[in-house]
Amino acid sequence: MTTADLMLTAILLPLAAALLIALAGRSPNLREAVTLAAAAGLAFTVWQLIAGFDAGTAPTIALAQILPGFTLMLRAEPIGLVFAGVAAGLWGLNSLYSIGYMRAEHAPRQTRFYACFALALSAAMAIAMAGNLATLFVAYEALTLVTYPLVVHWQTEGAIAGARRYLAYLLATSLVPFLGAILWTWSAAGTLDFTAGGILDGKLGDGALTVLLLLFAYGVGKAALMPLHGWLPAAMVAPTPVSALLHAVAVVKAGVFTLLKIAVYIFGIDVIGRGVGDVLIVIAAASVIAASVIAMTRDDLKARLAYSTVAQLAMVTLAVAIGSPLAIAAGILQLVMHAFGKITLFFGAGAIQVATHKKKLSEIAGIGAKLPLLMASFLVGALSVAGLPPLGGMWPKFLLLEAASARDLYLLIGCLGLSTLLTLGYLAPIFITAVFGKPGAEDPHALPHDDHGHGSGHLPLLALIPPVVTALGCLVLFVAAPAILRFVAPAIGLGVLP
C-alpha cells in the first residue's frame, strides 16, 4: 500500500471496526475479537507508516473543503506518527485489559463501550495525521464527542455530573478560545496549513503572538493546563480502561500533541523561543508544581493519578513554551514515556479495584502480598513517571533540564527537580502502603464483597498481562528513546543528538 492508502486505512479501520462492533453486539466474544483484530491491524498499519516514512515523498491527501481556505487534508509527519504509534500500540493492550476489567465488573452497555473506543481511536488517528489546523480541529471535536458516552458509562448520578463537566470544559474551550485562535491565525496568516518553520512569523507582533499562544494553550482544553484541568479529575467517574484511554492513549495526549504541533508548524520553534512563550513557561511550571501538590492530598487512587497527569503533561506544555528543538524533543518523548508509565499505573489501580474492590489509598494496606506481579509493574510505572533511570521516563526530564539550562532558566531547573521529588511523594505511598502496610480493620464503608469473584483477591489474567507488558515497555523505551529522537530530529531541527 502507498503511504496515502495507509493513512486512510489508519483512520477508516477503527471506524469500520466500530460499525462491526455495533453489529456484533449480540455475541460478546465476536465483538471483542473485532476490537482486537482492528487494534492489531491498526498497530501494523501505523508501523508500516513509520517504517516507510520519508519526509521527501510524504503525500498530502485533500478530503473536503468546508470553506475556501478551511479544507480538510491529511499529511503524515514524524511527530504525528509518534503520537499515532503510541495510541495505536496501546489500543490493543488497553482492549485486552478492558475485556478483563469490564467482564469482571459485569459492566452494562459493553457494545457501546467498545464501539466508542474504536471511534475514539479513529479520531485520534485523524488528529495525528491532520495536515492543517482545520482538520485537526474537526478531529479534536469528534474525539470529545465520541468519548462522552465512555465517560458517562455507568450512568449513575455521579457519572452524569462528571461527564457533563468533561463535556462543558472541553467544548467550552474548543468552541471559544481554540476556534477563536484558529480564526485569528487564519486571518493573520491567510492559511492554516502545517508548515515547517511556522506560518505566523512576521504576520503578528510578538505581543499578539504571546496572546495567541495563550489562547491556544487554554483553547486546547484537552492539554488540561491549570486552572482548566477540572474535567480530568471529574472524568475519573469513567471505567478504568476509559481513564487509561483519556490519560495515556488518546485524549490528554491529543491535547498536548496539538500544542506541540501548533508550536512546531504554526508558530515555529524559534518564534516561541525568542520570548513569545515566556508567560506560558511560568503558567506551565506553576501547573506542574501545583498539580503535584494537590495529587499528594488525594486519597482516591484514580484522583491521585489524574492530578499526576495534569502535572506530567504540563511538562509538555512547558517544553512547548521553552521553544527550542531540544525542549520540543523532550516534549515528544514525554508524550511517549508518560503514555506507557501512566497506563501502567491506571491498569494497576483498576486491577486493584477489580481484585480487592478498593479504590482508596487508605484502604489498600497490605494488598501487595496478594498481587506481587501487579505491584512490581506498578513500581516500574511509578519510577518511570517520576523520571528515574533505567526507565524511559528519564529521557524527557533530562532533556528538559538541558533545554532549561541552555536558556539559563535556573528557577525552572529548581522547579523540575522539585517536581521529581513531588512525583515520588505522591506515587511512592501507593506502592509502600500496598506492599509494606499492615492490613487494618476492614473499612466499614467498603462495598460488600459479592459472589461474582471480584473483591476476593482474584485478578483475571487479562487484567494482569497488560500492566506487565507496559511496565516492560517502560524499560525498553529507555533503550529505544534515541531511535525516537532520530526519527523526529529532522522535523524539529534537532542537530547534534545528546
Binding site: I66, F137, L145, V176, G180, L183
Partner: protein
C-alpha cells in the same frame, strides 16, 4: 408552455387546488392530493431555479399589463431558490402530515386542514415570486390567515393551540397593518407599487415620508420574523400547532420574513450613509445578538422539546440578522447560507420530534426518557441536528456559524465574534438536555422498540442526510448563496 408559465403556475397551482382539496370527503385521498400538489409545485419551482441559475431574471406580466401599471412577477435567483425551499419543505411535510394527524385532528377536519396547508404554501410562494409590494401584502395575508387556522387545529392535542393561534392572529394582524400603512406612505410619495420602480423613484422622494414608510414596513416584517421583542407569538405557535404543521412553519414562515428583509434591502432599507431609510447595519446586529442570547438562554429552561426548538429558532434567526447586518455581498450570502441550512437542520429536528410525538403522545422532556433505546434512529437524528445547532464540524451548522464568524473577524467586529462563539456554549447546554433526557434518564417502564413510523423516515432521514452532507460538501450552498447575493447587490457573480 408549462416552462414559460411556471412563474405564475407555482402560485396558482396550490392556490386554486386548495378549495378543491377541501371538497374531498375522504381524508386519505385529500392527503394524497395535497402531497401530489406540493410535489408538482416543487417541480415547478425547480424549473424556475434551472431557468434563473445563469443569472436570468424572469419577468412575467400578469394579464399582459406591462409594469409598473400591471402586476409583475419577477423571479431572480433568490426568488427561485426560496420557492424551491418552500415547495420542497411542503412536499417533505406532506409525506408525514396525514400520519401525524392521527389522533390529533378529527378525520372530518383533515381535508380542510390540507386545504389551509396548500393555501399557506401558495401565500408564501406568492410573497417570494411577486415583484409588486402590494401583492406581497396580499400573499402575506393569505399565508397568515391560513396559518392561524392551521395552528388552531392543534387544539385536538393541546387546547393551548387556541390561545397560540389567537395570539398570533392579533400580533400578525397588527404586523400586517403596519406593513400596509408603510406601503401606503411609499405609494403616496412615489406613485408606484412595483418594487423595482419604487427603488428608482425613492431617490427623489421626500426623505421624511420614506423614513416613516420604511419604518412601518420594518416593524411589520420584524413581527413576521419573530424579531425581539416581537417574538412572543412564535414559540407557542410552533409548539402547539399540529406537529407536522409546526415543522412546515419552522422551515418556512420566519424564513420568508428574512427573505422580505433581503428583498427590500436594496430599496426600502439600508443604503449606508443615506438618511431616509431604515439602517440595517445599525439595527440588525444588536437585535440579532440579543435574540441569539435570549433565545438560547430561554431554550435551556423550557420543559418541552418543541418549545426548546422554537426558542432555538429565535437564536438562529438572530444569527441570520447578525449576518445581514454585517452588510455587503458577503453579509447577504452569509445570511442566506444560514437561512437554508437552518431550514434543513431545524426541519429535520421538528420532523423527528413529530415522529416522537406520534409514538409518545408528548414531547415534554420527561417523555423522552429511554428514547435512545426504543427509538434509536429518532434519537440519533435529534442528536445530529443538535450537534449541527451547536456548530460541530462536519455538519451544516458549522458552516453556517463559520461564515458569519469569519466575516465578522475580517471586519474586526469583535462583539459579533464573541457573541456567536459564546452562544455556542449555551447551545451545548440546551442540546445536552435532549441528550441526557433521551440517553441517560431512566423511563418509568421500558417500552418495546418501535422506531420512527415509516412515513417519517424519508423526510427526517433526507433532512438529516442533508445536515451532514452540506457540512462536508458545502460548496454548492456557498456558491448558490454568493451568486444570489451578487445578483442582489448588482455586481457580477
Amino acid at each position: 408552455m408549462i416552462a414559460q408559465n411556471a412563474a405564475v403556475l407555482v402560485v396558482v397551482l396550490p392556490l386554486l387546488s386548495a378549495p378543491l382539496v377541501a371538497l374531498i370527503r375522504n381524508p386519505a385521498i385529500a392527503g394524497a392530493a395535497a402531497l401530489v400538489i406540493a410535489a408538482l409545485d416543487a417541480v415547478l419551482a425547480t424549473l424556475l431555479l434551472c431557468q434563473t441559475l445563469d443569472g436570468t431574471v424572469i419577468s412575467y406580466h400578469l394579464g399582459n399589463w406591462a409594469p409598473p401599471i400591471g402586476i409583475e412577477y419577477r423571479i431572480d435567483l433568490l426568488a427561485a431558490a426560496m420557492a424551491c425551499l418552500l415547495s420542497y419543505a411542503a412536499t417533505l411535510v406532506a409525506l408525514f402530515l396525514p400520519v401525524s394527524l392521527q389522533g390529533a385532528v378529527s378525520p372530518g377536519d383533515r381535508p380542510r386542514l390540507f386545504a389551509a396547508f396548500l393555501l399557506c404554501l401558495a401565500g408564501l410562494v406568492g410573497i417570494v415570486v411577486t415583484g409588486d409590494i402590494f401583492n406581497v401584502f396580499v400573499f402575506l395575508e393569505i399565508s397568515s390567515l391560513s396559518t392561524y387556522v392551521l395552528i388552531a387545529m392543534g387544539a385536538g392535542t393541546d387546547r393551548r393551540a387556541l390561545t397560540a393561534a389567537f395570539d398570533y392572529l392579533i400580533l400578525g394582524a397588527t404586523g400586517a397593518t403596519f406593513f400596509v400603512i408603510g406601503i401606503a406612505f411609499l405609494y403616496v410619495v412615489t406613485g408606484t407599487l412595483n418594487m423595482a420602480d419604487l427603488g428608482e423613484r425613492m431617490a427623489t422622494a421626500p426623505k421624511r415620508a420614506i423614513l416613516v414608510g420604511s419604518s412601518f414596513i420594518f416593524v411589520g416584517v420584524a413581527l413576521k420574523a419573530a424579531m425581539l421583542p416581537l417574538h412572543r407569538w412564535m414559540p407557542n405557535a410552533y409548539a402547539y400547532a399540529p406537529a407536522a404543521i409546526g415543522t412546515f412553519l419552522a422551515m418556512t414562515a420566519t424564513k420568508v420574513a428574512i427573505y422580505m428583509l433581503i428583498r427590500m434591502s436594496d430599496f426600502v432599507f439600508d443604503t449606508p450613509g443615506e438618511i431616509g431609510r431604515v439602517n440595517f447595519a445599525a439595527l440588525l446586529p444588536p437585535i440579532g445578538l440579543a435574540m441569539l442570547l435570549a433565545g438560547s438562554v430561554i431554550a435551556v429552561t423550557t420543559k418541552d422539546l418543541r418549545r426548546l426548538l422554537a426558542y432555538s429558532s429565535i437564536a438562529n434567526l438572530g444569527l441570520m440578522l447578525v449576518a445581514l447586518g454585517l452588510g455587503g455581498v458577503a453579509g447577504i450570502a452569509a445570511a442566506l447560507v444560514n437561512l437554508f441550512n437552518h431550514a434543513i437542520i431545524k426541519g429535520g429536528m421538528f420532523a423527528t420530534t413529530a415522529a416522537v410525538l406520534h409514538r409518545r403522545g408528548s414531547t415534554r422532556m420527561e417523555a423522552l426518557a429511554g428514547l435512545s433505546k426504543d427509538m434509536p434512529v429518532a434519537f440519533g437524528l435529534l442528536v445530529l441536528g443538535g450537534l449541527a445547532l451547536i456548530g460541530v464540524p462536519l455538519t451544516a451548522g458549522f458552516v453556517s456559524k463559520l461564515v458569519v464568524i469569519k466575516l465578522a473577524f475580517d471586519q474586526a467586529n469583535w462583539l459579533v465574534v464573541g457573541g456567536v462563539l459564546l452562544t455556542s456554549l449555551i447551545t451545548v447546554a440546551y442540546i445536552w438536555r435532549i441528550v441526557e433526557a433521551g440517553m441517560l434518564a431512566v423511563p418509568e417502564k421500558p417500552r418495546p422498540r418501535r422506531d420512527l413510523h415509516p412515513a417519517f423516515i424519508l423526510p427526517a432521514g433526507l433532512l438529516g442526510a442533508a445536515t451532514l452532507g452540506l457540512g462536508i460538501w458545502s460548496e454548492p450552498m456557498l456558491t448558490l448563496a454568493s451568486r444570489i447575493a451578487a445578483q442582489m447587490i448588482g455586481t457580477a457573480p
